[in-house]
Protein backbone atom coordinates (compact mmCIF):
# COMPACT_ATOMS: atom_id res chain seq x y z
CA UNK A 1 0.00 0.00 0.00
CA UNK A 2 1.45 3.35 -1.01
CA UNK A 3 0.40 6.71 0.33
CA UNK A 4 0.48 9.35 -2.36
CA UNK A 5 0.07 13.10 -2.51
CA UNK A 6 -2.31 14.85 -4.86
CA UNK A 7 0.53 17.00 -6.23
CA UNK A 8 2.62 13.98 -7.14
CA UNK A 9 -0.26 12.25 -8.88
CA UNK A 10 -1.29 15.32 -10.83
CA UNK A 11 2.24 16.17 -11.88
CA UNK A 12 2.74 12.65 -13.13
CA UNK A 13 -0.50 12.34 -15.10
CA UNK A 14 -1.44 15.91 -16.03
CA UNK A 15 -0.59 15.58 -19.72
CA UNK A 16 -2.59 12.38 -20.10
CA UNK A 17 -5.54 13.87 -18.25
CA UNK A 18 -5.42 16.96 -20.44
CA UNK A 19 -5.52 14.73 -23.53
CA UNK A 20 -8.39 12.69 -22.11
CA UNK A 21 -10.54 15.74 -21.40
CA UNK A 22 -9.39 17.77 -24.41
CA UNK A 23 -10.20 14.96 -26.84
CA UNK A 24 -13.77 15.04 -25.62
CA UNK A 25 -14.58 18.71 -25.26
CA UNK A 26 -12.24 20.17 -27.93
CA UNK A 27 -12.01 23.41 -26.00
CA UNK A 28 -8.79 24.52 -24.31
CA UNK A 29 -10.46 26.76 -21.73
CA UNK A 30 -13.01 24.14 -20.78
CA UNK A 31 -10.27 21.50 -20.62
CA UNK A 32 -8.32 23.67 -18.17
CA UNK A 33 -11.47 24.21 -16.11
CA UNK A 34 -12.25 20.49 -15.98
CA UNK A 35 -8.64 19.71 -15.08
CA UNK A 36 -8.98 22.09 -12.13
CA UNK A 37 -12.10 20.21 -11.07
CA UNK A 38 -10.21 16.90 -11.23
CA UNK A 39 -7.45 18.43 -9.08
CA UNK A 40 -9.98 19.77 -6.57
CA UNK A 41 -11.65 16.38 -6.22
CA UNK A 42 -8.29 14.69 -5.88
CA UNK A 43 -7.18 17.11 -3.15
CA UNK A 44 -10.44 16.49 -1.30
CA UNK A 45 -9.91 12.75 -1.47
CA UNK A 46 -6.14 12.83 -0.81
CA UNK A 47 -6.22 12.56 3.02
CA UNK A 48 -7.97 9.20 2.80
CA UNK A 49 -6.28 8.11 -0.41
CA UNK A 50 -4.19 4.99 -0.31
CA UNK A 51 -3.67 3.39 -3.67
CA UNK A 52 -2.23 0.05 -4.49
CA UNK A 53 -0.51 0.73 -7.80
CA UNK A 54 -3.73 1.92 -9.43
CA UNK A 55 -3.25 5.68 -9.17
CA UNK A 56 -3.68 6.21 -12.90
CA UNK A 57 -6.95 4.28 -13.02
CA UNK A 58 -8.25 6.21 -10.04
CA UNK A 59 -7.36 9.57 -11.61
CA UNK A 60 -9.01 8.71 -14.90
CA UNK A 61 -12.13 7.57 -13.09
CA UNK A 62 -12.28 11.01 -11.46
CA UNK A 63 -11.74 12.64 -14.86
CA UNK A 64 -14.51 10.53 -16.44
CA UNK A 65 -16.89 11.54 -13.64
CA UNK A 66 -15.96 15.21 -14.05
CA UNK A 67 -16.63 14.94 -17.78
CA UNK A 68 -20.01 13.26 -17.24
CA UNK A 69 -21.01 15.91 -14.73
CA UNK A 70 -20.08 18.52 -17.32
CA UNK A 71 -22.27 16.81 -19.94
CA UNK A 72 -25.12 16.65 -17.49
CA UNK A 73 -24.83 20.37 -16.67
CA UNK A 74 -24.64 21.09 -20.38
CA UNK A 75 -27.88 19.21 -21.08
CA UNK A 76 -29.67 21.15 -18.37
CA UNK A 77 -28.13 24.48 -19.39
CA UNK A 78 -29.18 24.06 -22.99
CA UNK A 79 -32.70 23.33 -21.90
CA UNK A 80 -32.67 26.54 -19.84
CA UNK A 81 -31.37 28.57 -22.79
CA UNK A 82 -34.05 27.07 -25.03
CA UNK A 83 -36.72 27.96 -22.48
CA UNK A 84 -35.53 31.55 -22.40
CA UNK A 85 -35.40 31.76 -26.21
CA UNK A 86 -38.87 30.33 -26.66
CA UNK A 87 -40.25 32.48 -23.85
CA UNK A 88 -41.71 29.62 -21.81
CA UNK A 89 -42.60 31.72 -18.78
CA UNK A 90 -42.68 28.97 -16.15
CA UNK A 91 -39.36 27.49 -17.16
CA UNK A 92 -37.67 30.74 -18.01
CA UNK A 93 -38.67 32.31 -14.73
CA UNK A 94 -37.67 29.37 -12.60
CA UNK A 95 -34.82 28.19 -14.80
CA UNK A 96 -33.58 26.20 -11.86
CA UNK A 97 -31.68 22.99 -12.22
CA UNK A 98 -34.03 20.67 -10.29
CA UNK A 99 -37.01 21.66 -12.42
CA UNK A 100 -35.07 21.34 -15.64
CA UNK A 101 -33.57 18.03 -14.57
CA UNK A 102 -37.03 16.68 -13.80
CA UNK A 103 -38.15 17.72 -17.24
CA UNK A 104 -35.09 16.14 -18.81
CA UNK A 105 -35.73 12.88 -16.95
CA UNK A 106 -39.30 12.81 -18.17
CA UNK A 107 -38.22 13.44 -21.75
CA UNK A 108 -35.63 10.64 -21.66
CA UNK A 109 -38.13 8.23 -20.16
CA UNK A 110 -40.60 9.04 -22.90
CA UNK A 111 -37.88 8.44 -25.47
CA UNK A 112 -36.99 5.10 -23.86
CA UNK A 113 -40.65 4.05 -23.79
CA UNK A 114 -40.88 4.79 -27.51
CA UNK A 115 -37.89 2.57 -28.39
CA UNK A 116 -38.49 -0.72 -30.22
CA UNK A 117 -38.73 -3.54 -27.69
CA UNK A 118 -35.39 -5.16 -28.61
CA UNK A 119 -33.57 -1.87 -28.03
CA UNK A 120 -35.48 -1.05 -24.85
CA UNK A 121 -34.54 -4.44 -23.37
CA UNK A 122 -30.84 -3.70 -23.92
CA UNK A 123 -31.12 -0.17 -22.50
CA UNK A 124 -32.95 -1.33 -19.40
CA UNK A 125 -30.60 -4.20 -18.67
CA UNK A 126 -27.59 -1.90 -19.07
CA UNK A 127 -28.91 1.09 -17.23
CA UNK A 128 -31.08 -0.33 -14.50
CA UNK A 129 -29.53 -3.74 -13.87
CA UNK A 130 -25.96 -2.58 -14.50
CA UNK A 131 -25.15 -5.61 -16.68
CA UNK A 132 -22.23 -5.42 -19.09
CA UNK A 133 -22.98 -5.72 -22.79
CA UNK A 134 -21.52 -9.23 -22.79
CA UNK A 135 -23.79 -10.24 -19.91
CA UNK A 136 -26.76 -8.74 -21.75
CA UNK A 137 -25.84 -10.69 -24.88
CA UNK A 138 -25.63 -13.90 -22.83
CA UNK A 139 -28.93 -13.23 -21.08
CA UNK A 140 -30.85 -12.35 -24.23
CA UNK A 141 -29.14 -15.00 -26.36
CA UNK A 142 -28.01 -12.47 -28.94
CA UNK A 143 -24.52 -11.98 -30.38
CA UNK A 144 -22.52 -9.22 -28.66
CA UNK A 145 -22.32 -7.28 -31.94
CA UNK A 146 -26.12 -7.27 -32.22
CA UNK A 147 -26.51 -5.98 -28.67
CA UNK A 148 -23.98 -3.20 -29.32
CA UNK A 149 -25.73 -2.21 -32.55
CA UNK A 150 -29.09 -2.12 -30.74
CA UNK A 151 -27.63 0.04 -27.96
CA UNK A 152 -26.11 2.48 -30.45
CA UNK A 153 -29.41 2.69 -32.31
CA UNK A 154 -31.19 3.35 -29.01
CA UNK A 155 -28.74 6.11 -28.06
CA UNK A 156 -29.15 7.70 -31.49
CA UNK A 157 -32.96 7.71 -31.12
CA UNK A 158 -32.74 9.14 -27.62
CA UNK A 159 -30.32 11.84 -28.78
CA UNK A 160 -32.67 12.75 -31.63
CA UNK A 161 -35.59 12.96 -29.20
CA UNK A 162 -33.51 15.22 -26.96
CA UNK A 163 -32.28 17.40 -29.78
CA UNK A 164 -33.68 20.45 -28.04
CA UNK A 165 -31.52 19.64 -25.01
CA UNK A 166 -28.26 19.71 -26.90
Amino acid sequence: MVNVTADQLLAEHEAALRNFLGARCRDDDLTAELLQEVAARLVTAAPRLSLNGNARGYLFRIAANVWRDQLRRELVRRRAALALDSGEPALAAAADAPLLERELRAAVRRAVDDLPRVQRQVVELRQQRGLTFQQIADRLGRPLGTVLTQMRAALARISAALESYR
Binding site: R24, L75, Q127
Partner: protein, 130 residues
Amino acid sequence: MNHPTEDELLLLAYAELPGPRAAEIESHITACRACGATLADLEHGRVALDVALPQRRSASRWVAIALAAAAVLAGVVMMRPGPARDPTERWTPTTTWSATAGYVAGGKAMVEIDAQLTRLEQERYYGLPN
Protein backbone atom coordinates in the same frame (compact mmCIF):
# COMPACT_ATOMS: atom_id res chain seq x y z
CA MET B 1 -3.67 3.47 -36.20
CA ASN B 2 -6.97 2.69 -37.96
CA HIS B 3 -10.12 4.32 -36.70
CA PRO B 4 -11.85 2.35 -33.96
CA THR B 5 -15.22 0.80 -34.80
CA GLU B 6 -18.39 2.35 -33.45
CA ASP B 7 -18.86 -0.72 -31.26
CA GLU B 8 -15.44 -0.08 -29.72
CA LEU B 9 -16.33 3.54 -29.08
CA LEU B 10 -19.56 2.44 -27.40
CA LEU B 11 -17.62 0.02 -25.19
CA LEU B 12 -15.19 2.83 -24.38
CA ALA B 13 -18.06 5.17 -23.46
CA TYR B 14 -19.28 2.53 -21.01
CA ALA B 15 -15.75 1.69 -19.74
CA GLU B 16 -16.06 -1.89 -20.94
CA LEU B 17 -13.12 -1.96 -23.30
CA PRO B 18 -10.01 -3.89 -22.18
CA GLY B 19 -7.26 -1.58 -20.87
CA PRO B 20 -4.66 -1.79 -23.67
CA ARG B 21 -7.22 -1.25 -26.44
CA ALA B 22 -8.86 1.56 -24.48
CA ALA B 23 -5.47 3.28 -24.17
CA GLU B 24 -4.91 2.97 -27.94
CA ILE B 25 -8.28 4.49 -28.73
CA GLU B 26 -7.81 7.27 -26.15
CA SER B 27 -4.56 8.10 -27.88
CA HIS B 28 -6.29 8.02 -31.28
CA ILE B 29 -9.15 10.34 -30.38
CA THR B 30 -6.72 12.95 -29.11
CA ALA B 31 -5.77 13.48 -32.75
CA CYS B 32 -8.93 12.35 -34.57
CA ARG B 33 -11.71 14.91 -34.33
CA ALA B 34 -14.31 12.63 -36.01
CA CYS B 35 -13.84 9.76 -33.57
CA GLY B 36 -13.78 12.22 -30.66
CA ALA B 37 -17.10 13.65 -31.80
CA THR B 38 -18.67 10.18 -32.15
CA LEU B 39 -17.48 9.28 -28.66
CA ALA B 40 -18.86 12.55 -27.27
CA ASP B 41 -22.26 11.79 -28.86
CA LEU B 42 -22.32 8.35 -27.26
CA GLU B 43 -21.32 9.80 -23.90
CA HIS B 44 -24.05 12.45 -24.16
CA GLY B 45 -26.57 9.64 -24.67
CA ARG B 46 -25.16 7.70 -21.78
CA VAL B 47 -25.36 10.69 -19.44
CA ALA B 48 -28.96 11.38 -20.46
CA LEU B 49 -29.84 7.77 -19.66
CA ASP B 50 -27.95 7.94 -16.36
CA VAL B 51 -30.06 10.96 -15.39
CA ALA B 52 -33.34 9.31 -16.28
CA LEU B 53 -32.74 5.66 -15.47
CA PRO B 54 -30.45 5.32 -12.47
CA GLN B 55 -29.28 1.82 -11.66
CA ARG B 56 -31.66 -0.17 -9.46
CA ARG B 57 -30.39 -1.80 -6.31
CA SER B 58 -30.17 -5.55 -6.66
CA ALA B 59 -32.42 -7.85 -4.63
CA SER B 60 -29.49 -9.05 -2.50
CA ARG B 61 -28.72 -5.46 -1.50
CA TRP B 62 -32.33 -4.97 -0.44
CA VAL B 63 -32.14 -8.16 1.65
CA ALA B 64 -28.95 -6.90 3.32
CA ILE B 65 -30.59 -3.54 4.04
CA ALA B 66 -33.68 -5.27 5.47
CA LEU B 67 -31.53 -7.46 7.74
CA ALA B 68 -29.53 -4.47 8.97
CA ALA B 69 -32.76 -2.58 9.69
CA ALA B 70 -34.14 -5.58 11.60
CA ALA B 71 -30.95 -5.77 13.69
CA VAL B 72 -31.16 -2.08 14.55
CA LEU B 73 -34.85 -2.43 15.46
CA ALA B 74 -34.12 -5.43 17.68
CA GLY B 75 -31.37 -3.46 19.43
CA VAL B 76 -33.70 -0.54 20.03
CA VAL B 77 -36.42 -2.82 21.46
CA MET B 78 -33.94 -4.59 23.77
CA MET B 79 -32.40 -1.37 25.03
CA ARG B 80 -35.73 0.34 25.66
CA PRO B 81 -36.38 0.88 29.42
CA GLY B 82 -39.37 -0.94 30.97
CA PRO B 83 -42.56 0.79 32.04
CA ALA B 84 -41.92 3.64 34.44
CA ARG B 85 -42.79 2.90 38.03
CA ASP B 86 -45.17 5.04 39.96
CA PRO B 87 -42.89 7.02 42.25
CA THR B 88 -45.65 7.21 44.83
CA GLU B 89 -45.97 3.43 44.97
CA ARG B 90 -44.67 2.21 48.35
CA TRP B 91 -42.46 -0.79 48.84
CA THR B 92 -44.04 -3.49 50.92
CA PRO B 93 -41.39 -5.55 52.72
CA THR B 94 -41.81 -9.32 52.43
CA THR B 95 -39.81 -9.98 55.54
CA THR B 96 -40.51 -9.02 59.13
CA TRP B 97 -38.25 -9.29 62.08
CA SER B 98 -38.85 -12.18 64.46
CA ALA B 99 -37.22 -12.49 67.85
CA THR B 100 -36.94 -16.25 67.56
CA ALA B 101 -36.12 -16.90 63.91
CA GLY B 102 -34.41 -13.63 63.04
CA TYR B 103 -36.83 -12.85 60.26
CA VAL B 104 -39.97 -14.28 58.87
CA ALA B 105 -40.70 -14.36 55.18
CA GLY B 106 -43.90 -15.79 53.92
CA GLY B 107 -45.37 -17.29 57.09
CA LYS B 108 -44.86 -20.46 59.09
CA ALA B 109 -43.25 -22.53 56.36
CA MET B 110 -40.45 -20.05 55.98
CA VAL B 111 -39.89 -19.95 59.74
CA GLU B 112 -39.39 -23.70 59.74
CA ILE B 113 -36.99 -23.61 56.84
CA ASP B 114 -35.04 -20.82 58.46
CA ALA B 115 -34.85 -22.72 61.71
CA GLN B 116 -33.59 -25.84 59.97
CA LEU B 117 -30.92 -23.86 58.14
CA THR B 118 -29.79 -22.27 61.39
CA ARG B 119 -29.58 -25.67 63.03
CA LEU B 120 -27.63 -27.16 60.15
CA GLU B 121 -25.22 -24.24 60.20
CA GLN B 122 -24.64 -24.70 63.90
CA GLU B 123 -24.21 -28.45 63.59
CA ARG B 124 -21.78 -28.03 60.78
CA TYR B 125 -19.78 -25.46 62.68
CA TYR B 126 -19.62 -27.33 65.95
CA GLY B 127 -19.32 -30.72 64.29
CA LEU B 128 -16.09 -29.89 62.51
CA PRO B 129 -13.00 -31.64 63.82
CA ASN B 130 -10.52 -29.41 65.60
